[in-house]
Amino acid sequence: MTVAWLAVIAVGVATVALKGAGTLVLAGRPLPARAAALMPLLAPCLLAALVVGQTVGDGRAVVVDARLAGVAAAAVALALRAPLLVVLGAAAGVAAAARALGAA
């Protein structure tokens, strides 16, 4: 068995288990009250963390590059209440332009 297969199987099994642990352990029971109150707050929290991580995160470094310009453009589009497709298009277009102009 090659290294690639071993990595694929190990990471696959771990990921399936991580994603499925919640539903298997809870088995249809409702979440405890404390945890249930937490769930609606988890979305804004993790979404904000994902925005930050994917905008300026690069491995173990914080990097300002063309992605930030793209996300700033998306923020402007959102403030103007543009449809999602326009928001995403603005992000890609501005990031691509910034990169073409020499931003990393």
């Binding site: 297969w5 990595a7 990471v11 539903t23 804004p44 979404l47 914080v62 992605r67 310009a69 928001v87």
Partner: protein, 244 residues
């Protein structure tokens, strides 16, 4: 105890579920373009890393999480150890424990079926599935299906044919992911607790990025939601919170 509710639920569910599935699929469609491109670049990277043809394709089905798959391909491609590749990928995917818990109440059926449906939860489909502070199963599965097809299709294209597109970053496609999360975040900011939670999540992720291995800052950021729980709840009185 809730037999009548459950039966009433079941009676209206098929139609409602189909509508939600379509809504989730439609919501995920714009980002699917970027997902195809990144799937292709994962396929190319994995092939260049000597992972062969089938393992990367199988990985896109079973792991179905971009960052972890890129980590494995780049560690193996640069001659790194198997254990290093596995640890990096598992750390990157630790957040799926929290996401899996938040998805759990929405799933039903046999354990095998729930385990399978839980696999449709990736960052983007989970984000798109949020409704009134809960996960909507139909939207999750609809978005997950579209993104799975896109990710798998991209991977196959990349592994077999390479990409005529070149680097997705040249087209700014990497900026589409945070832009999507930002757009979904804006819809989540009703009430002071939610805003505090978002602020703390962002700040913690930013502060810990240089400190912790990749993947862990976002896990630690979930603490922001716990802290936000202690903020006095201010019921939303504006019309925006109205249910539709």
């Amino acid at each position: 105890m809730e037999a009548s509710t459950i039966m009433a639920d079941a009676a209206v569910r098929p139609q409602a579920a189909t509508g939600a599935f379509t809504a989730g699929a439609r919501a995920a469609a714009p980002i699917a373009i970027a997902v195809v491109a990144f799937g292709a670049s994962f396929g190319i990277l994995a092939r260049d890393a000597g992972m062969g043809v089938l393992p990367p394709i199988l990985m896109s089905v079973t792991t179905f999480a971009g960052s972890a798959q890129f980590a494995v391909a780049s560690v193996l491609g640069s001659g790194g150890a198997l254990a290093a590749a596995i640890v990096a990928a598992v750390l990157l995917n630790l957040r799926y424990l929290a996401i899996g818990i938040s998805v759990a109440p929405a799933l039903r059926g046999s354990p095998a079926r729930r385990l399978l449906e839980a696999q449709m939860a990736i960052d983007e489909s989970w984000a798109v599935s949020q409704r009134d502070g809960r996960v909507d199963r139909g939207r999750l599965l609809g978005a997950g299906a579209v993104l799975m097809v896109a990710w798998l299709g991209g991977t196959v294209a990349g592994v077999l044919g390479g990409s005529a597109l070149g680097d997705p970053a040249d087209y700014g496609l990497d900026a589409m992911f945070p832009a999507l999360f930002l757009a979904l975040l804006v819809g989540q900011l009703d009430g002071r607790r939610a805003r505090v939670s978002a602020l703390l999540g962002g700040v913690i992720a930013l502060a810990l990025t240089p400190v912790l291995p990749p993947g862990l800052p976002i896990v630690a950021a979930a603490l922001g939601a716990v802290i936000a729980l202690t903020v006095r709840h201010e019921p939303a009185v504006s019309g925006r919170g109205a249910r539709t």
